[in-house]
Subunit: 115 residues, 2 copies
């Protein structure tokens, strides 16, 4: 199976916790994935994912743009080509503090919701 | 954990089966990953991964460049932003038929070797 990530219908998040986020499940259970799922998140300038924690890990790859990872009380810049491992139960948040779209790939184990 | 993928020491493959491939384990067991591993492959112009099969799946994200997926007797073009699911036991090969570096993220479940 091959698809362009942008061809997948996005779910938009704009609420108290998440702002300017377009989220897509690009490889999920219906594609035959049994062990882990791939999602792609686009975050608009000024937007952010929710500040949250859960008992599963994230493995992320930054595809384009510039952002920030907030974790362990620290703010670390993110740019294209960065990889991030967020262990389970670690509070984390991604922000786009730049003026351009920020795009990241984020994978979760199959015990997590697809999105 | 945050790192730039290019800062990880690559393993180079140049033999009868794989040509012009620089492979990196960017999130592995030593980083705390228990369920799946992230690798980044750079394929030089004219290079290719081996034509092979194994009983675990691949989830891929094309970061940059242009290449080809050979699978099921078909050749399908690959470009930045494409996602690919290769089911277990499916013979597959990635080629860089362009004049520029091809870079892809490729994930495997933890029952597979990290590289």
């Amino acid at each position: 199976m091959i698809r362009q990530f942008a061809d997948v219908e996005p779910t938009h998040f704009n609420n108290d916790q998440a702002k300017g986020v377009a989220a897509r499940v690009v490889i999920g259970r219906k594609d035959g994935a049994e062990n882990f799922f791939m999602r792609v998140f686009e975050i608009a300038p000024g937007g952010s994912t929710p500040k949250h924690r859960h008992d599963w890990e994230h493995e992320m790859f930054i595809h384009s743009g510039e952002g920030e990872l907030h974790m362990n009380g620290q703010c670390t810049p993110l740019r294209s080509g960065n990889v991030v491992f967020v262990p389970g139960n670690e509070e984390h948040q991604i922000k786009n503090s730049s003026g351009e779209l920020f795009t990241m790939v984020c994978l979760v184990p199959s015990k997590a919701p697809e999105l």
